[in-house]
Structure formats: structure tokens, C-alpha cells
Amino acid sequence: MEHTVSMSYAVWIVLFPLIGVLLWGLVLRKMPEKVVGFGASLMILLSFGVAVALTMKLASLDPHHRVVEVEIFRWITAGGLNLDFAFLIDPLSCVMMLVVTGISFLIHVYSIGYMHGDSRFSLFFTYLNLFVFFMLILVLGNNMPILFIGWEGVGLCSYLLIGFWWEDQNKAEAGMKAFVVNRIGDFGMLIAMFMLFHYLGTLQFTEMHPAAAKLWGHNIGALSITVITLSLLLGATGKSAQIPLFVWLPDAMAGPTPVSALIHAATMVTAGVYMIARNATLFALSPVGMSAVALIGATTAIFAATIGLKQMDIKKVLAYSTVSQLGYMVMACGVGAFTAGVFHLMTHAFFKALLFLASGAVIHTMHGALHHVHDHHTDPQDMRNMGGLGKHIKLTYAVFLVATLAIAGIPGLSGFFSKDEILAHAYLSAVHEHNPVGLIAWALGLMAAGITAFYMFRLVFLTFHGRYKGPEGSEKALHESPAVMMIPLVVLAFLSLVGGYVGVPHLPPLPHIPHYLGDWLAPVFHHAHEILNEVHGLHHTPHLSTVEEWVLVCASVVVALLGIFGAYVVYMVMRAEAKPNESQEGFGKTLFNKYYVDEIYHAVVIRPLIGLCRLAWKYFDAGFIDGGLVLGTAKTVRWFGAPLRRLQTGIVANYAFWLAAGVFAVLIVFLIH
């Protein structure tokens, strides 16, 4: 599907951030904050410009021709393995490029304010630019290994940025945990690549997907494709923090808050969802793979949401919320609603980035207030020390509320449209495709939606309402953050408000607005949907009736409102926040302790592994192999050698005798032959 359209300038989208890395990392690292901060932001703005240009160019093409490959250089050649460093520009990568560069730009600007005065200011922006570089390679890569370069590259940046304040060993450890847990996922990615190459002889998306459809099209659900999709899913559970590999993401909040917003909420963690969507055709070929994706996503969505109910650290709540929302996206892919998954990826990028950045503004404010009274012990991220902040930081409160309403699924805001579309598809899959997994996904998804509304409003009430619980006197120092931080918040609030209108459902008698995003992405997932329809014995993609649509919408809205109302009753009417030990009772304790997953992993995986390693070293390596076999052999030789040593008398005549004897012996042997 090579086309004559020239998009070779696409390479600039990654070159700008790369130039930034070299500038802020090496050449200009001693420059003042303003130069580095705005310079780094400019690099991303330029990338954003390229992304817009590419998207417009792509949009000008016929929908069936919107696949442009940009070959940059030949990377690896060996035997049948021919890997190009090449980009794939199609509707999906355009959406990702725009989201990544757009959100990144805003967060770069915000960071200028947030990181002000940090001793490693330039390094921070170097890492941020590097992150964008790798993230763009991830979403643009034309084959699995190039995607994997980006995949591991963003993981590296995540590691570096979580541990950015590495003087604190806990933060360094959180970074390491992220890297290692992700590596487990990467193992899955590697296995999938090996198998795909083995069966298809190519790893390039545009060749791989048709080849897969051809190979497995008449053997849907073959063991090989199922193992491949499950391996890919393992990769996705690492990067997108799904069960069982989600444990690194909450700890990743140790990084600076802009990093949490950019990498651990809006962009990097969605890579798993993107990867599944990118390989939609492969997943469609394996019903087991699809079901696993849906179940993992749905379970994660509800599991993480329940943990979010009892967290006290403002960022931890948002972290579990992210895990939960990523669960929705994964679940969407699992029920075949790839567009809905990407849609939620996008809206979530808006409102979750906003939530994190606004929480950063809250922390920033709290920090300043605590600093004002010379209090260095109170945790500025603990909601038990907040309350009533709404009066003091009105704008921050306003934007936070917008994002909260969006994530809670209040009609009209962006999150409502995307979440509703996911739930609708899960229901569709249950009813029209007779897929029990769809029913489970829908039920869990709906419950999680209610819980989400509850814990988000709990957060809002505890933070912005009620009585201020910070130290005496610090109240006076609570003030809004600087403009450089607030402007990105306002922009994101705007996007959280209107971002959903690219995918409005058709709900007669309401006026019909086209589903722009769906139409734009349709060619990308066309093939996968064809396969899915075949699997389910359908002749065309099923649709919900108007009544069903309305019932589902109402159900979502009712659940969301119930969640909000519940939070209002508990935290505003009953003032439950007054109990500092809220976390210490019964099931709440289990939730507060995150179901003890970390403790379980530690006991079941880490400790036995380290023990086994010690055993291998001390007893097997040093003891058995080296001490027993090697030195044992040496001792045996010496033991046998001892009598022979007597031959070494040092008397020349003796040697001469043996020498002569030897010569004669050789002579005799030769004579015999």
C-alpha cells in the first residue's frame, strides 16, 4: 500500500525533541531556566505543528488511501529479517501524534512553573524531550521492533523521571520497580514478535496484518495466534498497568507531578491500549485473546476503582483512577470497540492530565503554605491535611471540578461520551454477539463507573470543601499557582469540556452529529471488524436500537449521579473526613492497603527468587561446581600426582634414563608399524 504522497518531513516530528535532548542535555544545559523551559516547550510545539500538517495532509487523501509509509533507513538486515526504521502514518497514528504532542506541549509549559528552582531543571526538560521522542517513535513505528524501541524508550524515561529525585531511595526504588515490572511485560512483547516472525516472516504492520488474516483467517482461534495475542496482552498489562502488572504505576507517583500527568496518565501508559488497537486484526483472529483482553480490562477497572475509594494521598487516588480508566480502554478493545478505546484514551488524556496537573497545583499551594509556617513534617499530598481549599484557589478548583465531572461521566463532558460508548459496546457484544464476556465487562464497567464518581467526589470534597485541616496560620499562604501553570490547566479544562464532541452517539430525537472520530478511524479497524463479524456469524456490524441506547445512557448517568450523591452524603453530610483512621476498619483496611498485592508479590515472587539466586550462588556455584567439581578434580589430580612426584628426583641421570627409555619406546612403536 505504498503511495506516492511524500511525507518525508514526518521525520522532523521526532527530530525536534531529539535536538532538544542534545541541547538541554549537553550543549545548553547551563542556560537559565526560562531558556531551557521555553526552548524545550518550543521543540514540542514544533512537533505538534508537524503532527497537524501530517494529519491535514492525510485527511486530504481518499479514506482508503490513508496509509502512508515513510522509510527513513534500513535498520537491521539478517537472513529473512529486514527491519526498516520507518513510520506508518495512518488515522490511528495521527490521533496518537496529536494527543501526544499536544498534551506534552501543555505539560512542558506547566513544568516551567512547577520545576522552578529545581537543581536539575535542565535535566528534567532533557528527559521530557527524550520521552516525547520515544513516545512518537512508539506511535509512529511501522513495525513491531520500531514500536518496541519507543516502548522501551518511554519505559526508560519513566524510570529516569520517577527516580528524578533519587536522593530519596524510595523514589529510586519506585523507578526501578517500574522498569523491572515493565520488563516482564516486554518479555511478552518479545515472545509475540518471535512468533509473528516465525509464522508470518514479517513484523511490518502493513504486511503482517494481511498475512495474519490469510494464515489464520480460516483457522480462527488457532493456538498459535492465541498465544501471540496473550503475549501481546502481557506486554500491554505491563505498560498500561493492568492486572497482574499494575503494581508499578501507583508507586510511579514518586516522580514530579508533571511526569505523573504526562507519562503516567495521559500518554505512556496508554501505549498498551494503542498497541492492542494497532494489532486489532491479530486480536480479532483469537476469540480467546479478545476475551482475555476484555476480562483483564474489566477486572482492572473495578479492582483499581475500589482501591481508589480509600486512598488518602491525592496522587494515589488519581493513580488508581488511572489504572481503572486504562482498564476501560483495554476492556473496550476486548469487546471489539477499538474506536471507543482510542476515544477514551484521548478524552482520558485531557481530563486525567488536567486532574494531575491541578492536583500538582494543589500540592504546590499546600507546599507553599506549609513552608510559610516552617512545617516540614506535614505531608502536602495527604488529603487529611487539606479541606476548604476551594475558597482559596478558585480557578484550580474550577478546572478540577470540570475534570472530575468529565471522569465521573456527566453528560455533555468528554468522559461521558467515551465511557458511554465503551459500555454500549460491551452491552452490544453481550446481547448481539451472545458474548458472556461482554456482559461481565458491561456489568463491571457500570459498577466501576459508579465507584469512580464516588471516589472522585470524595477527593473533591475532602480537598476543596469542608474545613481546612492544615497547620495553624498556613491558611493565609494558600494562593493560586503562577500563570505559566494555570494557562495549561485552562486549556485542558476546555478540552475536557468539548473533547467528547468528536464522538457523539446517535440518540434520536437529539440532533445527529456525525461520529467524526469513528469515521476517521474506520479504515484502520475495518479489517478487524470484518473478521469479528465473521467470527460471530454476522453479516454486518450490529447496532443498538434507539431504546437500548437511551436505556444505557440513562443507566450510566444514574450510576454516576448515585456515586456523586453517595460521596456527598458520606463526606459532606456525615463529614466522614473527620475520622483520621478511616482506613483502619475491616474491608476498608484491605482497600487502604491495596489488597496487599505488593506484599503478596513480595512474599511469593521476590523473596523466593532472591533466595533461589543466593542458593544458586553460595551452594551450587561456589559450593558444588567450584568447590566440589573443579577443586575436587584438582585435588584428585594432586593426590594421584603425589606418588609420581617421586619421579621428579632432580637427579639428571634419572631424567636421562627416562628420556632414553622414551626414545626407545617411540622407536619400537615405529618399528612395529
Partner: protein, 491 residues
């Protein structure tokens, strides 16, 4: 017929002789002369890369001289796509290890002399195409290494040196027996008995050796090479040798010496005894996989940085062996490039451990902590090299590992899957060490005044970094040189 390859092999020896002229007291001069000789050798070898015809599977720049005609011993040197990069790696590391020897103060003439002779031994091993000549170089190289460890090493140096020597010697003797057997049992028409590698290869292609003979010969050669690599379970000399060797010794040991084992498989054991390869392949793959996982697991719990890197070599060379015995173009190419990668990355890691060892005279991880604060550039370089060793894409290690594993999956899927788990463990042992050494607050007062990288240290590390990135981003520069040779090898 030129004497180009001979010059490359023997210039270091001439340099060693030249050192005799200088009095022991002229330390700086001795160092400079050695550096110049090594750099000159590299400069002379470099054009090989550009003049080498990668489209031909044949040996190039051949030099053939009769040596002991009555015994069929010849002096044959030649280079092909398989040895080219190893030769260049050796000459490339030469000047670097001289720069990495700044902390050596004891009898410099002997030290640098040994290093130069070692260089000749290694280059000769990679370039010899006569079994007898090969064996001589193979053994010659043991002696200077023995002294480097035994004289300039750490506290337990004598034990380590003797262990290294005897262990390798035992393996070599088996190979010698094999070589002599071949000599006596193959008679080539019009030539008679010979050690000539090419003549023997030509002959055995038409008239293969009996299967049992091939099995025994393969076993004899493979054991010698397995000890050198070292493959599990013949690896226990390595940690001792590495820990006791001076920094430069470790760099050469990891960078080049171990490659002679893997090279031995590609050049001799595998092409000469194909039946042996078939028969022993499952065993070799199993040992390779065990090596990958076991080496990594033992690395995790090391308390000594150098020992950790030493055990990681066992793991990395397991990958190389896996790729070789995958017997696919992807796997073998990956193995070949991984030999180079390991030389660069592990060489760099040993240099880096040497940097703090020179300052603090300890390699214990627990002695450090938080040193990224006072040595930021050192921390940055260490990070990059660590990532290369962990196999992060974009750097060299990934290219090799990926090709090896994808190639292995074609013929031995289970081995590939198990081997891939090594990438998880690699992240564990290196990142954990890095965290304990570099992150946190500086708690040990002894670490508070360490200077960051010095000029000589930069000079030795930068060239390695350049190639770590180069091979990661554009490996085709190097892969293209070996493609044809590997196709030929797989036939």
C-alpha cells in the same frame, strides 16, 4: 602477497621488544610508547574494514608461507567476514586498555610488555588458518594473561591466575589431541598430512570424516572452547580471574579473550564437524539457556561489582552460544554482533568499575551509595553502558539479543522463550546495583570527595560509547560485512 596481516599481528610484539630499550624508571614514556604502538596497530588494521570485500565469502588478504614443510605446517593468515570485526575489536580495545591502566605503578615495562604480547596472541588466534599456528597463538596468549593476573592482580591473584591457566590449559590439551588426530588421520591427495585449515575443510567437504570421529573431535574442540567462553558449568574460573585481574586485564579478558571461545566454535568446531553439531546441538542449546538464566540469577545476589559483571558475562555469552547453535542466519548474525557488543559494553563496564576502584580501592556495592551526586558524568556514562548491557533498544545490546532470540525461535522455540527471560533478570541485577551505588544520599563519608571522570577516563570510555550507540542505531554498517560469510558458514 602482502604482509599486512602479519604486520597487524606482530607490531605489538615489536613494541614489546622496543620497551626493553627504556629503563624501568621511565614510566610515562613506557606508557606513551605502548599507547602509540597500540594506536598504530589499530590504525593499520582499520583499512581492512574498508578494503574488505563483503560480497565474497572467501578469506582475504591471505598470507601463505611454508613453515615446517616436513610436517605440513604452514604460516597462513587470512580474514573473512567472521573474523574481521573481531580483529578490529581487538586492535580497537588495545589503546583503550592502555588508557585504562593509569593506576598501574608496579614494573610497568613488564606490564605493558605482557599486554603487547597478549595482543599478538589474540590477533594471531583470530587470523590463523593453520591449526598448528592457531594452537600456538591460542597457547601463547595464556602466558601474558597469566602474568597480568598473577603479578598485577588483587589479593588472591596467584590462586586466580593458576586456576585460569590450568583450567584453560586442560581444555586446550584436549583440542591439541584433536588437532593431532586430524593431522594423522586425514591424508589429502598430493598434499599428505597437513594442518592447513582451508585444505582440510575442502577435503572434508568432499570426504567427510566418519561420524564417530566427528563426535569425538567436536567434543574435544567444544570442551576447549566451552571453557574459554565460558559456558556453564565451566565458568567458575571467570569470576575469580575477573575479580583479581587489574582493570585492563578484565577489559581484555571480557572484551576479547572470551570471544576466542565463541570464535573457535564458528571457525573450527562447527564447520569442521557438522555431525558433532547435529549430535550435540540439544546439549549446547541447553547449556546456553542455563548459562543465560543461571548467570543472571547469580549476578543478582553479588556484593562485589566486578563479580557481578563477571557473572553477567556468563549470561551474555549464553546468548551468543544460543545464537550460534540456532543455526539460522538471524541467530548466527546476532551472535556475531553480540560478540562485539559484549566486548564493548562489558569492557566499558569493567573500565567503569575500575574508575571507582581507583578512587576508593573497593568494589563492594555496599561501600557506595549516592555517588551520582558528586560524580554526575560518571553516573550518566554508567547509566548508558548499563542500558546497553540490559538490552534497551536503540543501543547495541538489543540488536544482538533480538536477532539471536528471533533466530533461535525459528529452530528452537523453547530455548528462545527461556532465553528471553534473561532480559528480565538482566534488568534486575544491573538496575539494582545501579540504585545501590548511585542513588540515595551519600552515607559513607569516604565517598564525599571523589572526583568525576578524568580526561584519560573519558578518552577510554568515549570511543566505546560511540560504538554502543552506533551499533544500536545503525547496525547495518557492521552486519553488512558478515552477511555473506554467515550464509557460507550455514552451508
Amino acid at each position: 602477497m602482502s604482509l599486512w596481516l602479519t604486520a597487524i599481528v606482530f607490531i605489538p610484539t615489536l613494541g614489546a621488544l622496543l620497551l626493553l630499550v627504556f629503563p624501568e624508571t621511565q614510566g610515562k614514556l613506557i606508557r606513551t610508547v605502548t599507547f602509540i604502538v597500540m594506536a598504530l596497530d589499530f590504525a593499520i588494521s582499520l583499512p581492512l574494514f574498508f578494503l574488505f570485500d563483503a560480497s565474497s565469502p572467501n578469506f582475504q588478504f591471505m598470507e601463505v608461507y611454508e613453515w615446517v614443510p616436513s610436517l605440513g605446517i604452514k604460516y597462513i593468515l587470512g580474514v573473512d567476514g567472521i573474523s574481521l570485526l573481531l580483529v578490529l575489536l581487538t586492535t580497537f580495545l588495545g589503546p583503550i586498555v592502555v588508557l585504562g591502566s593509569t593506576s598501574i605503578k608496579k614494573s610497568l615495562r613488564g606490564y605493558f610488555g605482557a599486554m603487547l604480547i597478549l595482543q599478538t596472541g589474540m590477533l594471531g588466534t583470530f587470523l590463523s588458518l593453520d591449526l598448528f599456528l592457531f594452537y600456538i597463538f591460542w597457547e601463547v596468549m595464556l602466558i601474558p594473561m597469566y602474568f597480568l593476573i598473577g603479578v598485577w592482580g588483587g589479593v588472591e591473584r596467584i590462586y586466580a591466575a593458576v586456576k585460569f591457566f590450568i583450567y584453560t590449559m586442560v581444555g586446550s590439551l584436549l583440542m591439541l589431541v584433536g588437532i593431532i588426530w586430524i593431522y594423522f588421520n586425514i591424508t589429502i591427495p598430493d598434499v599428505g598430512h597437513t594442518f592447513d585449515y582451508l585444505a582440510l575443510m575442502e577435503h572434508t567437504r568432499n570426504m567427510p570424516l566418519p561420524v564417530t570421529a566427528q563426535l569425538w573431535l567436536f567434543a574435544a574442540f567444544a570442551l576447549a572452547f566451552a571453557i574459554k567462553v565460558p559456558m556453564f558449568p565451566f565458568h567458575t574460573w571467570l569470576p575469580d580471574a575477573h575479580v583479581q585481574a587489574p582493570t585492563a586485564g578484565s577489559v581484555i579478558l571480557a572484551g576479547v579473550l572470551l570471544k576466542m571461545g565463541t570464535y573457535g566454535y564458528v571457525r573450527f568446531a562447527m564447520p569442521m564437524f557438522p555431525e558433532g553439531v547435529d549430535y550435540f546441538r540439544p546439549l549446547m542449546l541447553t547449556l546456553a539457556v542455563i548459562g543465560i538464566i543461571y548467570g543472571a540469577m547469580v549476578s543478582i545476589v553479588q556484593v562485589d561489582m566486578k563479580k557481578l559483571v563477571a557473572y553477567s558475562s556468563v549470561s551474555h555469552l549464553g546468548f551468543v552460544m544460543l545464537g550460534l547453535f540456532a543455526l539460522t542466519p538471524e541467530g548466527v548474525t546476532g551472535a556475531m554482533i553480540q560478540m562485539i557488543n559484549h566486548g564493548l559494553s562489558t569492557g566499558a563496564l569493567f573500565l567503569l568499575v575500575g574508575v571507582v576502584y581507583d578512587r576508593r580501592h573497593t568494589r563492594m556495592i555496599a561501600e557506595y551509595g549516592g555517588i551520582a551526586k558528586i560524580m554526575p558524568w560518571y553516573a550518566a556514562v554508567f547509566m548508558l553502558v548499563m542500558l546497553s548491557s540490559v538490552g534497551v533498544p536503540g543501543l547495541n545490546g538489543f540488536v544482538g539479543e533480538f536477532m539471536i532470540l528471533i533466530g533461535t525461535y525459528e529452530t528452537a522455540p523453547l530455548a528462545a522463550v527461556l532465553g528471553a527471560s534473561g532480559v528480565i533478570l538482566a534488568a534486575v541485577y544491573l538496575l539494582w546495583m545501579y540504585r545501590r551505588v548511585f542513588f540515595g544520599e551519600i552515607t559513607n563519608p569516604a565517598n564525599k570527595s571523589m572526583p568525576d571522570l578524568k580526561i584519560a577516563e573519558w578518552a577510554s570510555l568515549l570511543p566505546l560509547i560511540v560504538f554502543i550507540i552506533w551499533i544500536g542505531v545503525y547496525p547495518n554498517t557492521f552486519l553488512s560485512k558478515m552477511t555473506v560469510a554467515i550464509e557460507h558458514f550455514l552451508k
